[in-house]
């Protein structure tokens, strides 16, 4: 079994109000050196070993459902899943 870790982030051109709110809080707490905060999503998929080309599969799923490419970028890593 493989574990696919997908990181979804808002594209740089898209305002991230959630990130801005968190940065405001960090500044109030005294962390003045923080220059930007962006908040994204992390998804984990467990994929069976007999799956066809995992790269193609994950790209397809990201474009069809998991991300909205109008506003989001994604990247992913594939690793061997550790058996429980």
């Amino acid at each position: 079994m493989k574990k696919v870790k997908i990181y979804v982030t808002l594209r740089e051109s898209v305002l991230d109000p959630q990130g801005s709110a968190v940065m405001g809080s960090l500044h109030k707490m005294g962390y003045a050196e923080i220059e930007d905060v962006r908040i994204g999503k992390y998804l984990e998929l467990m994929v069976s070993d007999d799956a066809r080309d995992i790269d193609a599969l994950v790209n397809e799923m990201c474009q069809k459902l998991l991300t909205n490419t109008v506003i989001e970028d994604y990247r992913f890593e594939i690793e061997e899943a550790v058996s429980q």
Binding site: S13, V14, L15, P17, Q18, A21, K64, L65, L66, N68, V70, I71
Partner: protein, 227 residues
């Protein structure tokens, strides 16, 4: 005229939508579940507001992959009027039937109030009963109503007169205060405000009724023989 009110798990404005066309206009309406595979018997399709599939992943994202959306796409191709309100608008953008996307409101708050709305284009099958530039009062209720599109898309929208409604004031961060847009062909309208909640003075206003009247009038003119 016979309307389908599509019901997704989590839709919550379906009753208001049904009420608007059935009780206020006296047209036919039926609730249609999200797994339906045939919309051929309906003249108009209504996608109501709410929180389809709990807005998990992104608002409208999971709903756009449901079976009925293939039928909605067929209805769009057939030229039938398709109206998506609030979550229905979000579903239409996720389905690629309208350009752009709805982001979190700029102040991160869910906002529920009646707002001023400017009719930017009264020359559509959804707005012919309004006048260009008319200001109407329509309720909003959304947390993710901040309309976003890239520069090229915005220029296209402007060029083709696809911006149908804009907010009188900027409160959610939408690009150029866009509140509702239409597709290029003119038979798909998505808007964040809720005209179906403003169809009788008893509930605080009736400025939304003209939108439903426009659809019915246009349909009658196109489909009912005057022979």
């Amino acid at each position: 005229m016979k309307f389908a009110v599509i019901v997704f798990p989590g839709s919550n404005c379906d009753l208001d939508m049904y009420h608007a066309v059935k009780d206020e206009l006296g047209e036919e309406a039926e609730y249609v579940w999200h797994d339906s595979t045939d919309l051929s018997g309906y003249d108009g399709i209504l996608l109501p507001g709410g929180f389809s599939y709990g807005d998990y992943l992104r608002c409208g994202a999971i709903a756009q992959s449901s079976a009925v959306m293939d039928e909605v796409k067929k209805a769009v191709e057939a030229g039938k009027p398709v109206l998506g309100i609030c979550n229905g608008f979000q579903i239409l953008t996720e389905a690629g039937l309208l350009p752009g996307v709805l982001l979190r409101n700029k102040n991160l708050k869910f906002m529920c109030k009646t707002v001023g709305l400017k009719v930017e284009n009264a020359n559509t099958l959804f707005t012919s009963e309004y006048a260009d530039g008319q200001e109407i009062q329509i309720p909003i209720a959304h947390g993710e109503g901040n309309y976003y599109c890239d520069d090229a898309t915005y220029e296209q929208l402007k060029k083709n007169n696809q911006i149908v409604f804009s907010y009188a004031d900027d409160f959610n961060g939408s690009r150029n205060n866009i509140a509702g847009i239409i597709n290029e062909r003119g038979n798909v309208l998505g808007m964040m405000p809720h005209p179906e909640r403003a169809v009788t003075d008893l509930i605080g206003g009736s400025d939304g009724l003209a939108l439903f009247k426009s659809i019915v009038k246009q349909w009658r003119e196109a489909n009912v023989s005057h022979a």
